[in-house]
């Protein structure tokens, strides 16, 4: 009596369970494939073409295949070289967000009245748009009346209009970018500090550890997950530096504050005309740089998944 109906049911259950995940995945996967995966392939293909973004009357693609032509041109393009160097500066200097963020987190990790409000207010810069951050710092750096200008004038006798100085402009923008980035890192570390095992701290204290030694040998190892996320978001933030450059300097003066993300936009959609293929080649270089970090991240996640 027991055999027939349950068997039938098991088969149906099994079918349902193999099919169900794909039904749940389809809408999200479809959108993601159309707007993210396929465009990556398309961009890489496009980087081997010379194309002005237009179609002819029959709706056909008008690009011409140039092989490695765009990449060869990049090699000798001084603007590309400047962008690449600036990207490197962004990457290296953005890492300052980690120690500064950690420092502020330690400073704020107390339980005095009103500390919650302080933490939120310190986090503020991250919540507001980079466009607004850019405008705020443009005002801060403004020649003749900007606070930074007045400050340098008071200290050195002569004001520095940092956004008009080809040698300093990139550093000025990076400082603006660090402001929200530090806030983000700070909140990551505050959460991490909240979860540091108190018994280990107490034990280390009994052993006489304090200050730097305590931080380095006891606290930092426990903050490793927070540090990892902080490095990832900081690298991404550094390589996505489009908004600030676009708002504060539009790449100037004389193209000295360009970064790859902005230069790509300039080439493909800017006033210099619609060089889609050349722009795509720049994007592929940026993508390749990012891929180094993405694979590191995926590799770590893979390891963590296996441990479970």
């Amino acid at each position: 009596m027991a055999s027939a109906p349950p068997d039938h049911r098991t088969v149906r259950r099994w079918n349902q369970r193999t099919l169900a995940p794909w039904l749940f995945l389809t809408p999200g996967l479809f959108m993601f494939a159309v707007y993210v995966l396929w465009p990556i392939v398309e961009s890489i293909t496009l980087s081997f073409y010379d194309w002005n973004g237009l179609y002819n009357q029959d709706g056909e693609f008008t690009g011409t295949f140039v092989g490695m032509g765009n990449y060869a041109e990049l090699m000798t393009d001084p603007a590309f070289e400047t962008s690449l160097w600036n990207n490197l500066k962004w990457l290296v200097l953005y890492m300052a967000a980690l120690p500064i963020g950690l420092f502020i987190a330690i400073f704020l990790n107390q339980t005095v009245t009103g500390i919650r409000l302080y933490k939120s207010l310190f986090f503020f810069p991250f919540v507001i748009s980079q466009v607004v951050v850019g405008l705020i710092f443009a005002w801060f750096y403004a020649p003749n009346f900007g606070l930074f200008y007045l400050l340098t004038e008071a200290v050195m006798g002569q004001g520095t209009a940092i956004l008009a100085d080809p040698d300093l402009v990139t550093y000025g923008i990076i400082v603006a970018g660090l402001w929200p980035q530090i806030a983000y890192v700070m909140i990551l570390y505050l959460t991490g500090l909240n979860n540091v095992a108190p018994d280990q701290i107490e034990a280390a204290r009994l052993d006489g550890a304090k200050g730097w030694r305590m931080l380095w040998y006891v606290v930092l190892p426990q903050l490793r997950p927070a540090t990892f996320i902080a490095v990832i978001v900081t690298v991404i933030g550094a390589l996505r530096s489009f908004d600030l450059v676009s708002i504060m300097t539009t790449g100037g003066p004389f193209g000295s504050s360009r970064v790859l993300s902005y230069y790509m936009f300039e080439m493909a959609l800017g006033e210099f005309g619609f060089r889609m293929g050349y722009g795509a080649a720049i994007a592929v270089v940026l993508f390749a740089i990012m891929m180094i970090f993405i694979s590191g991240f995926i590799w770590k996640m893979w390891r963590d998944e296996k441990e479970r």
Partner: protein, 281 residues
């Protein structure tokens, strides 16, 4: 606790700490405060070079001016038209993808998951030309839905990561028990998992709202005119017209910053829970 609680220090140190807090905050938010004050300063003050002295009055008219003489109100409405559908779309899609990836051990599960995660970190520029081209060809260039559709797709990556990990942390016995009872898979999703997802939905909603409201790059690439440009792109083009009229630039900046700031203050706990995902084991 690290560092040592300040209550264990001498009264002098405690006193110093309570003094250092507001001073540090003031320095930290100095640029923002300056802009907030400038936004309320009469234009005549700036013309006379009175940038940091006592304002001759509080100029609410700066705000009235940008609302009546510029399309800033329209820009903000446009932003809402892009942001709200994106929040609904991305959260909805990722609830399903997250559920599929967390609950079923099908072949390729981890591959699909990593693909969503990796897609998240891709530089926008590698998507720019094809996405813009496709949006143009579909007749969706310069519309709120053209922009929102892209955002939904892209944010689904991040949201899937979040949802999947959240569902993974739920007790799996709940689902097992339901299966033994013979509950259909979609009913498990709808009646058992979904009610438990409220904190995750709240966290992702505030985060996605902020990300999309603050987006500038895609707003520039996919929209053009007053009718569809969101506030970030709108503010940037207004900034071009208001050369050196800092009282107006400041008022516009404060307005653009306000909605995400309010969102953050109202939903602080969820916001931080979403952002610090993975920062603790």
């Amino acid at each position: 606790m690290f560092p040592r609680p300040i209550q264990q220090s001498s009264p002098g140190v405690q006193w110093l700490y309570t003094l250092a807090l507001p001073v540090a905050l003031l320095i930290w938010l100095f640029p923002l405060l300056g802009v907030a004050l400038t936004s309320l300063r009469p234009a005549s003050d700036l013309a006379q070079g009175n940038y940091f002295g006592m304002p001759s009055g509080i100029a609410w008219e700066n705000y009235i001016y940008i609302f009546t003489e510029t399309p800033i109100g329209q820009y903000m409405v446009n932003s809402l038209w892009v942001t709200i559908p994106t929040v609904i779309g991305a959260v909805g899609l990722s609830l399903m993808t997250g559920f599929a990836l967390a609950v079923y051990g099908f072949r390729g599960n981890i591959l699909v998951f990593f693909m969503f995660v990796a897609g998240n970190f891709v530089p926008f520029q590698i998507l720019m030309v094809p996405v813009r081209d496709m949006t143009l060809n579909l007749g969706m260039y310069d519309t709120w839905y053209g922009l929102a559709l892209f955002h939904i797709a892209f944010q689904t990556g991040f949201c899937t990561l979040f949802m999947r990990n959240f569902i993974k942390a739920l007790p799996y016995e709940l689902i097992e028990a339901a299966r033994v009872e013979g509950v259909a898979e979609w009913r498990i999703f709808w009646f058992i998992v979904l009610p438990l997802m409220r904190p995750a939905i709240a966290a992702l909603s505030v985060l996605v709202f902020t990300f999309i409201w603050n987006d500038f790059f895609w707003a520039t690439v996919l929209t053009q005119g007053v009718d569809s440009q969101p506030i970030t792109a709108g503010l940037s083009s207004l900034n071009g017209q208001w050369i050196a009229q800092w009282h107006l630039v400041s008022a516009g900046s404060i307005l653009a910053a306000l909605p995400p700031v309010l969102m953050f203050f109202l939903m602080q706990k969820h916001f931080i829970a979403g952002l610090t995902l993975g920062a603790v084991k």
